[in-house]
Assembly symmetry: C2
Homo-oligomer: 211 residues x 2
Amino acid sequence: MSSVSRKVTALGAKKRDVIIRAAEQEFEKHGFSGARMQRIADIAGVPKANVHYYFSGKQALYDAVLTKVVDVWNQALSPISPGADPEQVLDQYVRMKVEFTRLYPEATRIFALELLQGGQHLSASIENETRKWTRDRAREIEGWIQQGKILPVDPYHLIFLIWSSTQQFAESETQIKSIYRRKRLSKKDYELLADSLTVMVKRICGLNTER
Amino acid sequence: MSSVSRKVTALGAKKRDVIIRAAEQEFEKHGFSGARMQRIADIAGVPKANVHYYFSGKQALYDAVLTKVVDVWNQALSPISPGADPEQVLDQYVRMKVEFTRLYPEATRIFALELLQGGQHLSASIENETRKWTRDRAREIEGWIQQGKILPVDPYHLIFLIWSSTQQFAESETQIKSIYRRKRLSKKDYELLADSLTVMVKRICGLNTER
DNA sequence: CGATGCGCTGACTATTTGGTCAGCTTTTAT
DNA sequence: ATAAAAGCTGACCAAATAGTCAGCGCATCG
């Protein structure tokens, strides 16, 4: 079990949440082996022993963080209704992905960090779910191509391009802030990105709405 | 100085290189604070004290690794000759970026890891060079748009999309191998990706060569 | 009111970690 | 042949680290 067995109380749940949020910041910045339990405690504003009171260890705490991260990733693997219009589907998916990146930058970065470092802490189930989702979407895209609804494109490459481009504002936030000469990326920045990316994806698929 | 001052010898240079390659593997997998000097020594096949003989410390070794990584990044920030044809420029840049990702996956991952974690170990100079390069390219792209050579597009978003999509095979290698059900990504995979991405980028810019 | 369980935490332990050093061997230069 | 420098490394050190524990206070339940 990822944390210590005990009756669920309001205080306990609240404290666990504070610790998990602190852990998110520390794990995203330093990774699993680089993170320090003392720093997590400092960020959470509690003694280190208190962190160990709620979580049986560093791995258990990281598992709790990953559970949240994977939940965000799973929510973004949304189903697409059969027969839906490609333009609407792609527009919706790109916007939804950008919005998730904006709402959950820490989760986006921790997930990316996990993948970058080999994904050894991710469960086989998330790997299987992602593979299945991607295969199903790829088949759907193949269907659109065969029906002449969109231009020929490698479905997997399209999905990978959408993933990488919609997550980059979180993953390379420091670099993008530097290039934009900004202290932070605003909601407007994300909205402009979403607008931009939907147009780009539509052009890739030959769904140019402006010409 | 990043390493110990000493006469450069063939043996010394060779040994430093072996240690740096080992360090690359360890730093990409665990980041700066998560990496262990003993594991670097193990990978390099030398005693830990030998690593310290050649590098004055962990930070010095990481700096040496980053010097290589930044060199790769800088090489990819290639100049584009004035007045060049957009289609040729974009085609060349996308292919060059994919090829760099294939040739230097470790460097790609370490750079991405640095950005993901805030880039605090990167020098201000690389930040400035990247910002300047991006601004210059953005201006060039603006020129193409104004001359009607390409469709209107946010130049920064286009550059970011090219960066993220061309680097993703290295950054999310584990996930992509899982989706493809493969043990490794081949040169062919990279070539197909390059072909795919150049077509996609051209379509974004309205440079469709197949219609 | 007393028993039980939750919550807390400073002090502590065992292990890990980056880094050092003395003494040795090998190589290079004179 | 000799001196100097490079190269090497097992043993060691001090600090850092994850994790534990005993003892306490508070809240809840019967």
